[in-house]
């Protein structure tokens, strides 16, 4: 998959409490959640985010709670993919399970808000359009590639249970 879009840039340790604050967790409605996405770190995000935008960040993105509402809110905001230096492990699982592509890379160091990048998720390559620099991302483990191929955890459950 090739994803081309403009970036929102964040630093290290963006936790799930700022991605979607607990005061909005009394619903699982994705559109409702998207309205408050990133609110406590960047009030402009929910207002200005466009379909196909990309979030790039530093280390330990998505740390904190297990709330799947965090990747759900990001996905429902129209974000096409998240690229960070590293992810908290629960966020990492959740993103795969709900079909939000995420990649590990240091590309954030090269970027400013609204720069454009092109991501090749298969090859694991990220191109910075303003200067043509290419960053490699870590490869997705084979098991998780299979998960994505079967269409996420739901279809995988169907296969196992033969329903």
């Amino acid at each position: 998959m090739i994803i081309k879009g403009r970036v929102w840039v964040y630093s290290d340790n963006v936790d799930t409490d700022v991605i979607i604050p607990a005061r909005y967790l009394n619903t699982s409605d994705s559109k409702e959640l998207a309205k408050h996405c990133m609110e406590d770190i960047d009030e402009s995000f929910a207002k200005e985010v466009k379909n196909g935008d990309i979030i790039v960040a530093g280390y330990n993105f998505g740390s904190g709670s297990s709330r799947e509402h965090a990747p759900i809110a990001i996905k429902a905001s129209g974000v096409a993919c998240v690229i960070a230096k590293s992810f908290s492990r629960i966020f990492y699982r959740n993103a795969f399970n709900i079909g939000l592509p995420i990649l590990e890379s240091n590309v954030v160091d090269e970027l400013e808000k609204s720069d454009e990048i092109e991501v090749d998720t298969k090859k694991g390559q990220i191109k910075v359009l303003k200067n043509g620099k290419v960053f490699e991302s870590s490869v997705i483990p084979e098991f998780m590639q299979r998960l994505i191929e079967s269409g996420g955890l739901f279809n995988y459950a169907k296969e196992i249970l033969k329903v």
Partner: protein, 423 residues
Amino acid sequence: MGMTISQKILANKANKDEVKPGEIVMADVDLTFANDITAPIAIDFVKRLGVDVFDKGKVALIPDHFTPNKDINSANQCKIMRDFVMERNLPNYWETGEVGIEHALLPEQGYIKPGMLIVGADSHTCTHGALGAFATGMGSTDLGFAFATGKSWFRVPESIKFIYKGKRKKWVVGKDLILYTIGKIGVAGALYKSMEFTGDAIRELPMEDRLTMCNMAVEAGAKNGIVEPDEITVEYLKERGIENDQYGILKSDADAEYSSLIEIDVSNIEPQVAFPHLPSNAKGISEIKDDIKINQAFIGSCTNGRISDLREAAKVLKGKKVAKYVRLIIIPATVQVYRQALKEGLFDVFLDAGAVISTPTCGPCLGGYMGILADGEVCVSTSNRNFVGRMGSKKAFVYLSSPAVVAASAVAGKIIHPDEVLK
């Protein structure tokens, strides 16, 4: 090559002789649970599949975050849970009046045994490793999958071995050891890894303190925290009517591989305070030079809402008054803790001091209700997270500490060592 206790449990449950760090395995789980925030999505997953849960006895649904329901939306979420429980006739459900915070409730009620593989749709599921189980938090879709299939996939983690030596100082509890540890390694210091807590100082540590330590493993990014079972574990289970023929005890091999060994001399550790806005901003209390005035003090949560925590707080609060214009909120984590505290007269101590006592709930820990912070306010809390906006306003400041320090701070109106209040 030998295996760590975490590897052994995963190997057992994946039906393998051996597993190696980095390997991904599909394993059978012994207990699966979710709360009122995470259950609705997991329930929807099971319903859409059109199947039953894999084993009624191994599914627990615990409405603890926003109960008694704080508003219409949270009532609707609990209703989804309750309807599902009623429709499927699931035995492990606790109504308001019985429910407690999941990570306090499950061990207390004897649901956790050594060697179990446990997944919960809550990040603090790692708490249960204190009993020698492999327990880890996941998201709702993962739990939906586990509810339906009885399985979950795991990347076998590398382990870090923490060796705690020496005698603890007065007032130093499990909370201080774990805050100190996270302060040392950072919030991603154990990312994707297992934190194995060992050493003489752990062998002497009461079970409730071990639960506190494992509870915060996730605050260092860990997949799980774990303590090898010993006499204290056996005793804790016996008190719950679980004899040692009902579980096996696994230990790490002497030649097990660790990604690192970290030795900590606990005799040098003083009461710890984690400054805003990360649990890793831990400092020894004597390092605090300027007064940190507080507006609110909170004693509760799955980290420190157990009976030993309330006893520690009461030791400090006895005969004292909460400072003027400071709110002290105390929330026993379960009904059993609530009743026990009442019986022991702790409620009188708290009420005489001017504290308010709530029914068991997560409440203010995650900024839900029952003690939300206003702009610019400062709270010292026994909970596990002090992120921006965690307890209400994103302009508020949360400091983390032990029950004794929080109680002392409530009396002094500023963050302070318990000895200062008692002298």
